[in-house]
Symmetry: C2
Subunit: 213 residues, 2 copies
């Protein structure tokens, strides 16, 4: 399987959600690139290009077979098989991710959670009981988990990432601001809320000052 | 005040956190670009360029005055004044953001929260009581809020964004996958967890298949 362009991969969940939940397409078995683009407010040419990369042939004036497109999207995203992940850090953000229902659609399931604070270890959140961070490598390795989710304070991030990698994790979803050093063959996807908020508040500040002048 | 390059703005919170919390710099009043770059694992030339944009002059072999750099960073990020925001959508993610302590460092304070579900309206989370989404425009306007945080289901996102904008909001931190249409002069910063996870799971899947071959 070839690696797809990142912007395309980022749009695939949007197409999938629209196809699986919207009634824009009625009971129709086919969808056209134009309808999908229109419903999402995207350029038609972009949508056509993204769909072409799925390898499902469309037919002129009829469009693409909806079921085949949905299957291909789920397959390309790796969402046709459930991915079990380890979550490290059960502060406010970690707990939110543990309870976040949106992951189910994406077949992501958090199998185990870790924390370093004795006050949290042993506590249950839903069906998961929190384990000591000392056991990350051992448990992750035993459960054969390939994905880790990091929601620890920045200063603990590298140490926890090292433990996850030692346990066999190949992909880290990093919610900290820390720059993680990982070996080749391990992927890091950053979701840095502080940086994202920084961009917005800096722009807002500039705009407000402009308005006052 | 000039608009800074986005990558620079994204790194500013990282510098600030390092300068305010780390003891790498000991009790020293000055910091060098090299030390800061080393502590963060960044290129020195990049750090120097970012710091130069703050307009605080450094001195050869001594470095930059630490206090002045911290003040300039906070100022450029708009974090020397508290920003009050309205949060819309009090599901699992919205509640997490309400309880997320990390915002305090960034002087972001959530002043009010809205939900459309009668079961949630009137409920208290911490010091905030949840208001009906019907009142977004009225309350946001009365409180003169300029920032909105969207943690609603995708299908409700545009409607809630419209209500925020009608109330005077100029910046929206969008945690949904929806593409928001907003008037000129309103900024949207997207944090799309579904897309971020899609990128990671697609890459993981490719890697696993590669390893099996």
């Amino acid at each position: 399987m070839t690696t797809l362009p990142l912007p395309t991969v980022r749009r695939y969940p949007i197409y999938l959600k629209m196809l699986e939940t919207s009634d824009v397409f009625g009971s129709c078995d086919s969808i056209s690139g134009a309808t999908l683009a229109g419903a999402l407010g995207l350029e038609e040419i972009l949508v056509r290009k993204d769909l072409a990369l799925l390898g499902v042939p469309g037919r002129p004036r009829i469009g693409y077979p909806k079921d085949a497109i949905v299957r291909a999207l789920r397959n390309r995203l790796g969402w046709d098989n459930s991915t079990d992940a380890a979550l490290v850090g059960t502060g406010s953000l970690g707990r939110a991710l543990l309870g976040y229902k949106g992951f189910r659609e994406q077949n992501l399931s958090i199998a185990v959670a870790f924390d370093s604070s004795p006050a949290n270890i042993g506590m249950r959140i839903g069906r998961i009981s929190i384990q000591s961070a000392d056991k990350i490598t051992k448990i992750v390795s035993r459960l054969k988990l390939r994905m880790g989710i990091l929601t620890v304070p920045d200063e603990a991030a590298q140490d926890c990432a090292d433990k996850l990698v030692a346990g066999g994790v190949k992909g880290i979803w990093n919610f900290t601001s820390a720059h993680l050093a990982v070996p080749d063959g391990v992927l890091v996807q950053n979701v840095d809320l502080a940086s994202s908020l920084a961009v917005l508040s800096h722009a807002l500040r500039n705009m407000m000052e402009g308005a006052e002048q």
